[in-house]
Structures are given as structure tokens and as C-alpha cells.
């Protein structure tokens, strides 16, 4: 009953096969537009970013100061309590030095790599990090545990977005 053949199909094509028109392709580019409702918690978060401040929410049950702020604590499953301003400083929990763009194309020679990091924000509960970028720092000088501070866009350029913080720089 046992058939010896257990692998079948999966006929490989080379880039050349595609470039030379050896196979047919039907092309379509997706055009979907979304406008996400930001909701109670993130609307406040974005409004405060526009003012140059970072706001968190506190859970009355477990006392966690949560960032990004949430309308509810996902662990206690209760509505959050008070809003709490936190600092715009923090600690690098981990980082990367990234040489490719979001679409996987490689950055050009001489272009600066992206410096994403998880930053634990001062004033929020331990371990409460956000993803952001580092700047004004040589890649080799970045260390886990490094203290950093937000560099804000000028007030008139802020739109109420996470990018109102340009990046975090070493403190």
C-alpha cells in the first residue's frame, strides 16, 4: 500500500524564465484604502504626542502603567483607570541595525541604516516598551541598556502620530 513517491510537483522557475516571458503572468496591483478608527485610548495617545507628551493608562486592579495606553487592561480584563503622563526618556531593551527597507530592497551605498529598537519608557511599568527608531548615534555605539531620550518634531510639524517623535537619541 505504501507508495514510494512522497514528493511531487513544485516545479522551479528561474528569474530568467520570468524575465524572458517563458511563462504567462497576470498582473494586478492591489488598491485597498483603510481609515482605521483609533478609538478611545489611542486617540488620546496621539493627541498627547501632538503636544509633545507621552501618556499611558493605569490599571486600577494590577496597578500597571500601560503603554501604549489602553481602554482596558488585557490581563485583568477590566476597564483602565486614570491617565498617567510618563517621561520621554527610556532604556534600550533591544535594537537592530537594519540595511533593508520595509519592502526588502537593500539600502543604497552610503545611506544610513535604520536603527529600530524596543525602548522601555521611564514612568511606565517595568518592561513596558514601544518600538521606535534611534538617531544621533553611531550604530556601533548602541548598547542594550543604554538610556535614551525622545527627539520631537517641531510643534508645528506634529500631526498626532507616532512619528511626531523623530527618534530617540542617547541621553
Amino acid at each position: 500500500m505504501q507508495d514510494k513517491v512522497k514528493v511531487s510537483g513544485g516545479t522551479g522557475l528561474s528569474e530568467e524564465d520570468i524575465r524572458s516571458g517563458k511563462i504567462f503572468l497576470t498582473e494586478d496591483s492591489l488598491d485597498c484604502a483603510f481609515a482605521w478608527d483609533t478609538g478611545v485610548a489611542i486617540t488620546r495617545y496621539l493627541n498627547e504626542l501632538k503636544k509633545g507628551k507621552i501618556i499611558a493608562s493605569e490599571c486600577r486592579e494590577c496597578s500597571r502603567i500601560m503603554l501604549p495606553p489602553r481602554m482596558f487592561c488585557e490581563l485583568c480584563f477590566r476597564p483602565s483607570g486614570d491617565w498617567v503622563y510618563v517621561q520621554d526618556t527610556g532604556t534600550v531593551n533591544t535594537f537592530s541595525i537594519c540595511h533593508v527597507h520595509w519592502d526588502a530592497s537593500r539600502i543604497k551605498e552610503g545611506e544610513k541604516p535604520y536603527l529600530p529598537a524596543v525602548i522601555e519608557i521611564d514612568g511606565a511599568s517595568s518592561g513596558m516598551g514601544i518600538m521606535h527608531l534611534l538617531g544621533e548615534v553611531e550604530p556601533d555605539a548602541i548598547k542594550i541598556g543604554m538610556k535614551v531620550k525622545a527627539v520631537w518634531k517641531p510643534e508645528d510639524e506634529r500631526t498626532g502620530a507616532i512619528t511626531d517623535i523623530k527618534y530617540f537619541k542617547p541621553l
Binding site: D31, A33, W36
Partner: protein, 387 residues
């Protein structure tokens, strides 16, 4: 059935055409909180597993299951997402309990379709990219094609389809969840512009935002958690071919509904659905779909649904009240949450909590959902007040 499963908690939020004041996560949190409260105040830590139903393109998020756990209280718990109508999600939850390994399972779905700028684009992406999409037609034409074939095969008239719209929109007037209730006449409907002939603009249901969360449990747990369990007596789902050109044989016949109903009826021991069911919530994404589905679900014979409708058999006082809630045409279309909405309306009737819409002596109900254009997938569930 090796193990009985009951609905022990019901929660919902939204049911509005727009909901810009809350995020989808906050809307689901509201529905989940209500559901757990309804189930005797259970904390989600005591729920064994969670099932969500969604599709990436509806949310604008790839692998949207990432964002499921927090608002259900499901952090570090067994969680899975079904890429299907939420009645398939419900079926998955039922199977989990029947394995004997999990006792309490939550299932959820939501619609935030108001955040999608052009829903029709997304719907078009569900068609075959090589054979169908290059025509660049509005996807409603697929419904027009099917409706025309159904009318031809069954002898149903456009007036009978319009009568579905009249009744469902009228039924919706007393339903607090409904956004599309209206007094409208058959002439209004037939006189309105076509969407894709013979489908008119009033033959299609309107979009709605909303979230539904249901909690399921084993018999043993259910009897401890609530004094009004609603039993899932049978459930079935089926899929016809995705290729429109291969569907010709059954283009007018909704074979997926027949497959789903066969499995659900067999499990529930139902042989004569028209007389054994006390209520039915049947997909009416488009007016003709309600009639086509009633026939495919073996509630009546081919070509009979329109006539029975005109005779009042599916009215509140009729033999088998159908879409007394208002259905999708009257309440609104909740996309992947449609299936759970059908169960919600049926379960409230079975509990005697349907408010002004409450019918007398509702013991057994059917909920049936179709996944919409261009799919050929449907799920049927039989619910009962007694196990």
C-alpha cells in the same frame, strides 16, 4: 453526539453603520465583557480556548489573528482564527469541546467595514485573479447572474424577491440592533435602479459595524453557569466549487446550503425541518438568497419559497417565522460576524429575551449563514431550548 455543547453567554456591541468613537478592539472588549457577565460573571482566565473569525483584507491587517487575544482576555491562552464566516468559527469551538479536552470556549467576530474605503475592491479580490478579475466588473454582477439563473430555474418572481425586502425591513423596525428598518413597498423596490439586473439596489443588504461574542460550554459546566443554556443540537458546513464556470449545474441551487443542512439535521435528528423548526434566521445578503436558501435547506421544495412567503408562512404568525429579527436586509450586513449575528437573534428568541420581537413557544431554531460573493460556503446550526 458524544458530548453536549451549550451557549452559556451572549454579548454584543456596536450594530451601527459607523462607530468612529471606538476602535475595533474596544468594541470587541465591550462585547466580550457583556458576554462573560451574561455567563455568570466568568473571568476569561477560566475560559479554556478562544476562536475568532476574520479575513485580513477586511481589517487591513495581514495575519490579523495577532490582534485577537487582548480584547477577549485571551493572553497566553489557546487562540485560533478561522478564515471564514463566524458560524464556521462556532463549529470549530463546538469541535474543540467535543474532543473532551476543553470545557469552556469563547467565539467572536466583528465588522468594522466602515473603516474600509472601498469594500467592493476587496470583494473583487476574492474572485479568481486570472479568469474573473480581469473583467474589472463590480462584484455585484455575480449576484445578478446567480439571481437570474435562480429565478429561471425556480420560477420565482422579482416581486417575490421584493416581498422578502419588504418583510425583513418591516421586521427590523422593532429590533433595537437594526439599522436598516423601513416601511417600503414592492413598487418602491421594483421602481428603484438596478444594481445588476435583475438585482435592484434594495435587494442588497447594507453594511454594518458590530461585534458578537458567544461563550460555549460542556453540559456539566453549562448547567452550573446559567439557568438558560441554549443547546447546539447540530452543526454543519459545506463548500461548493470556487470556480464559477464549474458551478453552472448548481448556480441556482445553493448546493453549499444543502450540504451544510444535511450534516446539521442529521446531527440534530431533524427530518422534517418545516414542521420541526420554530424559527429560522436564514442568510438574506440579497433578497433572492433568502428564498434560494430556504429551498436548499429543505425547508420547502424547489420554487416554493416565494409562494410560501406570499402566503405568510414565514411571518411572525406563520408556520415557520423566518428572519423575524429583520435579517441582513433589515439589521445590516456584518460580514464575517453575520453567522454569529444569526445565532444571537435565534438564541435570544429561544431564551425569551427578544423583546418586542419575541415569539411564543420557541423550542428549536435554525441559523444559517452564507459567506457572500463570490464564495459557495455556508454553515447551518440547530439550536434548542432543551438538550
Amino acid at each position: 453526539m458524544s458530548k453536549r455543547v451549550a451557549i452559556v453567554g451572549i454579548g454584543y456591541a456596536g450594530f451601527r453603520t459607523t462607530s468612529s468613537d471606538i476602535s475595533y478592539r474596544e468594541m470587541i472588549f465591550e462585547a466580550a465583557t457583556k458576554c462573560y457577565e451574561d455567563a455568570g460573571g466568568i473571568h476569561p482566565h477560566d475560559i479554556d480556548s478562544f476562536v475568532a473569525s476574520s479575513e485580513d483584507f477586511m481589517e487591513g491587517i495581514s495575519i490579523a489573528d495577532e490582534y485577537v487575544p487582548d480584547q477577549l482576555g485571551a493572553v497566553l491562552k489557546p487562540v485560533q482564527s478561522i478564515a471564514g464566516d463566524s458560524l464556521q468559527g462556532l463549529a470549530s469551538a463546538v469541535m474543540q469541546i467535543k474532543t473532551g479536552k476543553l470545557n469552556v470556549v469563547a467565539t467572536s467576530a466583528f465588522s468594522k467595514v466602515s473603516n474600509l474605503s472601498h469594500y467592493e475592491n476587496v470583494e473583487a479580490y476574492a474572485t479568481d485573479p486570472v479568469y474573473v478579475r480581469p473583467f474589472q466588473e463590480h462584484p455585484a454582477y455575480l449576484a445578478g447572474l446567480e439571481m437570474n439563473r435562480y429565478l429561471y430555474e425556480s420560477g420565482t418572481t422579482r416581486e417575490q424577491c421584493a416581498a422578502v425586502v419588504v418583510k425583513n425591513k418591516y421586521n427590523a423596525l422593532d429590533n433595537p440592533r437594526a439599522a436598516y428598518g423601513a416601511k417600503i413597498s414592492i413598487d418602491d423596490i421594483l421602481g428603484a435602479p438596478d444594481l445588476s439586473s435583475p438585482l435592484g439596489i434594495h435587494d442588497a443588504s447594507g453594511h454594518l459595524d458590530g461585534a458578537v461574542v458567544l461563550l460555549l460550554a460542556t453540559e456539566e459546566k453549562a448547567l452550573r453557569m446559567t439557568d438558560k443554556p441554549i443547546w447546539i443540537k447540530g452543526i454543519g458546513w459545506g463548500t461548493d466549487t470556487p470556480n464559477l464556470d464549474s458551478r453552472l449545474e448548481g448556480f441556482g441551487a445553493a448546493i453549499y446550503a444543502r450540504l451544510a443542512a444535511k450534516q446539521a439535521y442529521a446531527m440534530a435528528g431533524i427530518t422534517a425541518p418545516y414542521s420541526e423548526l420554530d424559527i429560522a434566521e436564514v442568510d438574506d445578503t440579497f433578497s433572492y438568497k433568502q428564498l434560494q436558501h430556504l429551498e436548499a435547506l429543505n425547508i420547502c421544495g424547489p420554487g416554493e419559497a416565494g409562494k410560501l412567503l406570499e402566503l405568510g408562512c414565514f411571518d411572525a404568525a406563520g408556520d415557520l417565522p423566518v428572519n423575524i429579527s429583520g435579517g441582513s436586509l433589515g439589521v445590516g450586513y456584518l460580514h464575517e460576524a453575520n453567522g454569529l449575528h444569526r445565532v444571537l437573534e435565534t438564541a435570544l428568541q429561544l431564551r425569551g429575551e427578544a423583546g418586542k420581537k419575541q415569539l411564543p413557544d420557541v423550542e428549536t431554531g435554525l441559523a444559517f449563514a452564507w459567506r457572500g460573493i463570490p464564495t459557495a460556503t455556508g454553515t447551518a446550526v440547530i439550536l434548542g431550548r432543551r438538550p
